[in-house]
């Protein structure tokens, strides 16, 4: 009993501490609307220069390079701090092929280079390691021309051999990234010379150089691996690729991994970076870059206010308002609502077509009819995104394909169609009881799964569940951990709030192709895309049309017609349906650094967790 009393004794004390801490952390007044000020102009970049890295070339580096590890002691003014919202669980796994690896903690962003990047701002490519990519008349043979002078960070030249080794390794091993892609598309890959690679495809593919960029994934293989390291590795699926003292993981980017813990990764600048040595790009000014997890959004916000970060990952409207209200050096994409930059991945509600009654397209359409998308924008996003009814981002580059959606269908999606939904249910034999629609004595119910670490998707789920409840469907929401993603693959769900149609940013095929293929059996992992789809929706006509679209040039008169046919089937069947355009609130701190991408200087998508972030790093300058 004493122990019982003792433990209970601590409860009020603990809560008192919580209250005291909370009061201490409280900002006092509600966050007011932000000032409509503009961020300081970049001193060393211009919109014109930004579109082509080559034109932004700096003088080749000739000064003696410092030992990168000396930069571990760089002070705050020479350090760039990047917010990470999640803990790094496996800090010693830097094998890009093992699930849960740590590559996204800086290696993809600043430790590697891609062949080229797509700037969502103007829809143009920024040639990076690639100097040129061209194809033959029927797009079955593609030739990649590499820049000269590219080296790995251990000084070994990066050549066609590394690219071919990477592709061959992936093609031979079905556990490695891109295996199915290469098996489907690639007949052979060969070295013409050290700087030229020739790809021969199984069939014509006009988007070979483009389609993988669309998802922000980079062109060709996402991550190249150094042949001179990996050819000595026995099992590439278990190799951890981690030993900073030996230079692993080895990349070509301007920064080298120096240290990791469960809360942070520290990268130091490689003054011998090939990009600067060849004069192709400016050597980034920050000597040290830290990707740091500090805790909940409350803690992240307070850290940002205290200048503990220079760049943040996606935060909520409330957090942004708190930051810019207490530290005027922070600026978002817009200084007023919607604050955010449009994200390339539209948010959708995925329905499992293998589960009754959702195997019926009318029932799926009914779910879409009930959705009040404006309310989702107003409440789940607090007005920080825009209303749209597409599976793809509402970018200008996608407008020709957005226009293919039947105007009436689109119009209907922008407001709830409750009468239509009721008519569908009545036609299916449902009757409305005191609270819910029911059939054969069973209430119509649906569970919507949301990932517990993705607040944006949760808030969409919260609002939609209430809309369904009000309409008379017993909707519930389940917040799940890692099992959420397993369920998506094995089909253990009725509905999920997610973004899995993601892909297209400047052409329609990538997103449309997500829904093709056979429906994976329940309980069996779906591989995604053309192998089989996670929605368990299978439509042969649709698959055939999308396959045809995949081998048709955008300039072909048939192209838009094929796209329209596929889009019409997709919007008629709705294996998933759009919930909202997504957005990213990614503010930057101008206390120490300037030259960030802005809406007036949109040289790259402002995404510090994407491969393309390396482009931004080369544009930053010290704030005066």
């Amino acid at each position: 009993m004493k122990a019982l009393r003792s433990s209970i004794n601590h409860v009020p004390i603990t809560l008192a501490i919580v209250i005291a801490t909370a009061v201490a952390a409280c900002g006092g007044q509600p966050a007011a609307a932000p000032q409509a000020t503009q961020p300081p102009a970049a001193t060393n970049t211009s919109a014109a220069a930004a579109t082509s890295a080559a034109t932004a070339a700096a003088t080749p580096t000739t000064a003696a390079a410092a030992n990168p590890m000396d930069y571990l002691n760089a002070d705050r003014a020479d350090t760039f701090m990047i917010d990470q919202p999640y803990k790094l669980d496996t800090f010693d796994n830097w094998n890009p092929y093992i699930p849960g690896n740590a590559f996204g903690w800086g290696m993809s962003e600043i430790g590697m280079d891609d062949l080229m990047y797509l700037n969502y701002g103007d829809g143009k490519h920024i040639m990076w390691m690639a100097e040129k990519v061209d194809s033959n008349a029927d797009d079955t043979v593609w030739t990649l021309h590499l820049r000269k002078g590219i080296t790995w960070n251990d000084g070994v030249p990066f050549t066609a051999d590394d690219i071919i080794y990477t592709i061959n390794l992936q093609q031979k091993n079905d556990k490695l990234t891109n295996h199915f892609y290469w098996v489907q598309w690639l007949k052979s890959v060969e070295k013409v010379d050290d700087y030229t690679v020739r790809y021969t495809l199984n069939k014509t593919n006009p988007r070979f150089a483009d389609e993988r960029i669309s998802g922000g994934l980079g062109v060709f293989p996402d991550v190249f691996i150094p042949k001179h390291i990996w050819e000595n590795v026995k099992d590439p699926t278990t190799f951890k690729n981690y030993d900073p003292s030996k230079g692993l993981p080895l990349g070509t980017g301007p920064y080298i991994l120096a240290k990791t813990t469960t809360n942070e990764t520290i990268f130091v600048r490689n003054d011998n970076w090939w990009g600067a040595k060849t004069g192709f790009a400016k050597l980034p000014e920050p000597k040290k870059v830290v990707f740091k997890y500090v805790g909940t959004e409350e803690v992240r916000t307070q850290t940002a206010i205290d200048n503990g970060f220079d760049s943040m990952q996606d935060i909520t409207v409330g957090a942004l308002q708190a930051i810019i209200n207490q530290n005027s050096k922070w600026h978002a994409w817009y200084d007023q609502k919607p604050y955010a930059v449009a994200d390339p991945c539209a948010r959708i509600i995925s329905i499992n077509s293998a589960k009754k009654p959702w195997d019926d397209k009318d029932m799926r359409n009914m779910l879409s009819d009930v959705m009040d998308r404006k309310q989702i924008v107003d409440i789940a996003y607090e007005g920080s995104t825009t209303l749209a009814a597409y599976f793809w981002p509402n970018y200008p580059s996608m407008k020709p394909y957005s226009d293919l959606v039947d105007p009436q269908v689109e119009q209907d999606m922008l407001s709830p169609q409750l009468a239509k939904a009721e008519a569908i249910l009545k036609a299916k034999g449902y009757t409305k009881g005191a609270k819910y629609w029911s059939k054969d004595g069973q209430d119509l119910a649906i569970q919507i799964q949301v990932p517990e670490d993705f607040i944006e998707l949760q808030r969409i789920g919260d609002v939609y569940v209430e809309q369904l409840q009000k309409f008379g469907i017993n909707a519930t929401e389940a917040k799940l951990g890692a099992v959420y993603y397993t369920n998506a693959s094995t089909g253990d769900y009725e509905a999920q709030s997610n973004w899995f149609a993601c892909g297209s940013v400047n052409e329609p095929w990538t997103t449309l192709n997500q829904f093709t293929g056979a429906a994976a059996p329940l309980g069996q992992a779906a591989k995604g895309g053309p192998i089989d789809n996670q929605w368990r929706w299978s439509n042969k006509q649709y698959t055939d049309i999308v396959a045809q679209l995949g081998v048709t040039k955008e300039t072909d008169p048939k192209y838009l017609d094929l796209a329209k046919q596929a889009i019409t089937i997709l919007y008629n069947e709705l294996p998933a349906f759009p919930a909202a355009q997504s957005r990213k609130i990614v503010p930057f701190n101008y206390t120490y650094w300037t030259g960030y991408p802005t809406r007036d200087n949109y040289y790259i998508f402002p995404c510090n967790w994407c491969n393309l972030w390396v482009v931004a790093m080369t544009k930053l300058s010290k704030a005066q």
Binding site: M1, I8, G27, T301, G318, D378, T476
Partner: protein
């Protein structure tokens, strides 16, 4: 209970001046009464609240966003305690959330207590190998850091409502009562009335449940109130971490949404403070009840130092 009371009275005959004191009416213990009143008022707030306030406003998208309380500039009398970022009315959330949290605590602790009575009585009364097995399992489970396990379970189990949460919490709510009851049974089984029942061939189960359990009521009640507090604390912890139900508000869920929406740094005191105050009141109420019941069961704590 009757046996204990009469026993105590017999021993206290040496101090006649105390016979008419409040301490001789143990159930009127001031701490127990005060705690009971606090919990009763809390319950009434939740039970009678829906008669005076529209609890539909406790759900997402039912109210304007981010309104401060009515007495603050910008507030509205339609939402006297304000609203939060998901369009929920704070007063309605408290009316729905307080009973929901209490329900989880009561259900989890009751299940734990029921299992504890069964296992504790068996171990204490039967002894032998059943005692060894039960004691070993109980001692093992009690050393497991329950919150960590609960977090792991909650991450994999879908919890559409608070009942599922209560059942999960009940997984770790039984070892405490089991230990307590076993130790009490070990002493009670040597009492005369138990031996008399045994000699009268009263079945074992009847001795355990009819003769012994009623005599442990104050201990059981104290353990139950403590268990309710513990379960509410566990529930609040899980929900504050985002591992609870999402639709029907509970106090932990309100805190979770406040944390996720950075209510602290936004200065939305009206969002995060009320659930914390409600929890402090509930914990204080149960704490007073627990120590009151402890004193009721243990005359020494009421100042009877001469009680053997």
């Amino acid at each position: 209970m009757a046996a204990v009371a009469s026993n105590s009275s017999a021993q206290l005959t040496q101090t006649p001046a105390r016979r008419t004191g409040v301490r001789d009416m143990p159930w009127l213990n001031a701490k127990f009464v005060a705690g009971s009143i606090v919990i009763l008022l809390t319950l009434l707030f939740g039970l009678l609240g829906p008669l005076f306030w529209n609890t539909d406003l406790a759900y997402t998208a039912s109210s304007p966003l981010n309104l401060p309380p009515a007495w603050v500039e910008g507030g509205s009398p339609d939402h006297p305690l304000g609203t939060e970022s998901n369009g929920r009315d704070m007063l309605a959330q408290l009316i729905v959330g307080i009973p929901a949290s209490l329900k989880v605590g009561v259900v989890a602790a009751s299940i734990g207590m029921a299992v504890g009575i069964l296992l504790g009585s068996t171990a204490g009364y039967v002894g032998g190998w059943p005692d060894h097995i039960i004691r070993t399992i109980t001692d093992s489970v009690i050393t497991i850091p329950s919150l960590m396990v609960l977090i792991a379970i909650a991450a994999y189990v879908s919890m559409p409502d608070t009942t599922a949460m209560a059942l999960i919490l009940a997984l770790f709510a039984w070892p405490g009562p089991t230990r307590l009851i076993r130790s009490q049974v070990l002493t009670l089984r040597e009492r005369g009335y138990v031996r008399m029942a045994l000699l009268s061939n009263v079945p074992t189960l009847e001795i355990m449940l009819v003769e012994m359990v009623p005599n442990m009521l104050p201990w059981l009640a104290a353990s139950l109130t403590g268990g309710i507090s513990g379960a509410i604390l566990g529930e609040t912890g899980l929900e504050a971490l985002g591992l609870g139900p999402t639709r029907v508000p509970s106090l932990g869920m309100i805190i979770n949404y406040a944390l996720n929406s950075t209510a602290l740094v936004r200065g939305m005191v009206w969002w995060w403070l009320p659930p914390i105050i409600a929890l402090v009141v509930i914990f204080t109420g149960f704490f007073l009840m627990t120590i009151g019941l402890d004193e009721i069961a243990n005359p020494r704590l009421r100042g009877y130092s001469n009680v053997k």
